[in-house]
């Protein structure tokens, strides 16, 4: 990982002029325009692609400047709101926004104008509904959109006079109409998929969640207990966990989780206690992810219950988990539950695998609880668009 900023040369065309700069890899197009070029007409609202205030044109197409990296625009043409002065369509839109009260505070207006210009360019017919749908990605908190829609409609009515002939036109894709046409009957030979039963993620309450998992193992209870009470063998069965040291009943453990693009490595201390008589045990620990500054704590209770038949037994696990700090958004709702659920299942799978002479699945190294991220998206990105 680089510790000092490494700057790279950047050349692009902004509003018709060649522009050079030196930027970091992480610099967004919006920050480059605003901070390096002083083109502050491009507004930054949400900075994660939701509000549309930062909309600019890249090679003639509107894009979100806050989630477009400056270096991804190398050699390309950018037009910002400042570059609209000579454009009759943009001038007409600005006049119409004034006339129809299409703005109040003006924060959304630059992005709104860039989007509206594109809408008028691309359509040869436009209903009010279509205008509203096309503006769905630009948020205005002042106007209630009525003035904006009226402004767009008024300019659209003058489209032919404002646009040079031969401007590109796109027909919105539509679906063929099959109504009333009988569909050929046939014997199905393709498209079969294995039927699965989908289960929903439950929304849990509170931050600290518990989850139960029971497995049946075809081994005598004594043998299974001997394994479960051996921390050096059992800790690696916890997905993503690594035992760093053991001192008495104190453990030093590292645990890595991976949720799509999100990674965290929790390092911390744990302890265990076993009751050989009752064949019950508990492992618990807490750790910190240095990169995000988040903390996590978790516990695992387990009990081995002998089957009357003697040659097999049942293991019952109860897992709990909580997260605090920047990553704690994961611990809302069904997140922890699904996380712990996935983890308990994988732990149980690993235990079963090792007991029957196999190896711990290497999937455990990259904890496959990406399912979690679904709820991250649901809670965190609920206002985000669907791509």
């Amino acid at each position: 990982m680089t510790s000092k900023p490494s700057l790279s040369e950047l050349t692009l065309d902004v509003n018709g002029e060649a522009v050079h700069g030196r930027v970091e890899g992480r610099t967004s197009l919006a920050d480059f325009l605003r901070e390096d070029l002083d083109l502050t007409g491009t507004h930054l609202g949400c900075e994660h692609g939701v509000c549309g205030a930062c909309t600019v044109e890249l090679d003639g197409q509107p894009v979100r400047a806050c989630i477009t990296l400056a270096r991804a625009c190398e050699g390309r043409a950018v037009r910002t709101i400042e570059g609209g002065d000579d454009d009759p369509l943009m001038a007409a839109l600005q006049d119409a926004f004034m006339q129809f009260h299409g703005l109040q505070c003006g924060f959304c207006t630059p992005g709104m104008l860039m989007a509206c210009r594109d809408i008028i360019l691309r359509h040869d017919s436009l209903s009010d509904d279509q205008i509203r749908i096309a503006l769905g990605g630009n948020l205005c908190r002042c106007t209630g959109y009525v003035g904006i829609v009226n402004a767009v409609r008024s300019v659209f009515e003058r489209r032919a006079e404002l646009l040079a002939a031969g401007e590109p036109l796109a027909k919105p894709p539509t679906q063929p109409d099959w109504a009333g046409q009988p569909l050929t009957r046939f014997r199905r030979t393709g498209g079969q998929m294995q039927a699965v039963e989908a289960t929903p993620m439950e929304e849990g309450a509170g931050d600290d969640q518990t989850l139960r998992e029971t497995i049946t193992v075809q081994k005598p209870a004594d043998e299974v207990w001997a394994f479960l009470s051996d921390v050096e063998r059992v800790v690696p069965c916890v997905p993503g966990a690594r035992l760093l040291s053991v001192n008495g009943n104190e453990l030093e453990v590292e645990m890595e989780i991976s949720l799509g693009a999100i990674r965290a490595r929790f390092k911390g201390n744990g302890r265990y206690q076993f009751d050989d008589q009752a064949r019950t045990g508990r492992m618990e620990g807490e750790g910190r992810d240095a990169r995000s500054g988040s903390s996590a704590a978790g516990g695992l209770d387990f009990a081995v219950i002998a089957d009357p038949a003697g040659d097999r037994c049942r293991i019952e696990f109860v897992a709990s988990y909580s997260v605090t700090g920047p990553l704690s958004q994961f611990s809302r709702g069904g997140l922890v539950k699904s996380f712990v659920g996935a983890m308990a299942k994988m732990f149980a799978d690993n235990v079963q695998r090792v007991l029957s002479g196999g190896q711990v699945s290497d999937k455990g190294n990259r904890l496959s609880v990406l399912q979690l991220t679904l709820n991250v998206i649901k809670s965190w990105f609920s206002k985000l668009f669907n791509k």
Binding site: R64, I67, L69, F186, F385, N386
Partner: protein, 276 residues
């Protein structure tokens, strides 16, 4: 709201991308359009040390047409489908679906491969490509391997992609002339995530029929009895067995959600001629 520092490495082609990913290992992450990863970077939910940019990789932006199928490069953008800059293998389905993904400014950047690799169960391409029976071409160190769409997403946000693999292309079988498709999604607001998605693809000439519910907590789920009935008895026959099939497939979902999924599929079936 600024990403952590990372090295930005644009890849000239797929092979270079794989080489860069291999070189930088666990700390590297691919970006194409950046419309899903971009917000995660800004919110610092994702903190890669290296970002390998695929969006200008030559072999990922092209389209290869053959008699039976079209292979779309992983970095083909949603707007390329919407505007007809790439050929459509599915008799209007791909442009129709593309034009309803998020917002225009997002469609101008977001890519087919990026959306599929991100593997959100509610994403349009995830549902549509599974419906069409597409095949994904995964490029790694040892070359290209093929994975069926329905096997690619293993769980939400979890795919068959290996650590150093990229989704290089998507092969979509061409629908024949008699084929029909239906696609319906419920969104609370235009451009937002679907709450429930219904996908119907039926192609008599190829003997193909597939009906899916999508936008679940997991990958799209097939409604096999509905697909069977669609082939044998037509759209109305499919409708007749729909409710029971959804109840079986989504038995653990609350009734209100099941109803939403039923209606999504019902409306998709209505698009191909169901009358009831």
């Amino acid at each position: 709201m600024k990403p952590v520092k990372f090295d930005y490495l644009p890849a000239r082609d797929g092979a270079e991308a794989v080489r860069l990913l291999t070189e930088h290992g666990d700390e590297a992450k691919c970006i194409a359009g950046g419309q899903s990863l971009g917000p995660m970077l800004n919110l610092r939910l994702a903190r890669p040390a290296v970002l390998v940019d695929l969006h200008r990789a030559e072999d990922l932006t092209g389209v290869e047409e053959s008699r039976d199928a079209i292979v779309y490069g992983g970095a083909v953008r949603h707007a390329d489908f919407e505007d007809g800059r790439v050929a459509d293998a599915a008799r209007g389905m791909l442009p129709f679906v593309a034009s309803r993904i998020a917002y225009r400014a997002v469609r101008n950047r977001g890519t087919l491969g990026g959306s599929l690799s991100h593997a959100d169960p509610a994403a349009d391409w995830v549902c549509v490509m599974t419906g069409l029976g597409a095949t994904y071409l995964l490029r790694g160190k040892k070359g290209v391997r093929e994975v069926a769409a329905e096997d690619f997403i293993q769980a939400a946000f979890m795919t068959a992609l290996g650590a150093n693999e990229i989704l290089a292309g998507v092969r979509v079988p061409r629908l024949s002339e008699s084929a029909r498709w239906g696609y319906y999604k419920f969104c609370k607001k235009v451009g937002e995530f679907s709450q429930a998605t219904g996908v119907v693809v039926v192609d008599p000439e190829r003997g193909y029929s597939r009906v899916l519910v999508g936008a679940l907590d997991s990958p799209p789920v097939p409604l096999e009895p509905v697909a069977e009935a669609l082939a044998e008895d037509g759209p109305d026959g499919a409708l007749a067995v729909l409710d029971a099939a959804v109840d079986t497939a989504l038995g653990d979902y609350p009734e209100v959600n099941r109803q939403l999924y039923k209606v999504a599929v019902r409306r998709a079936l209505a698009q191909i001629g169901a009358t009831r």
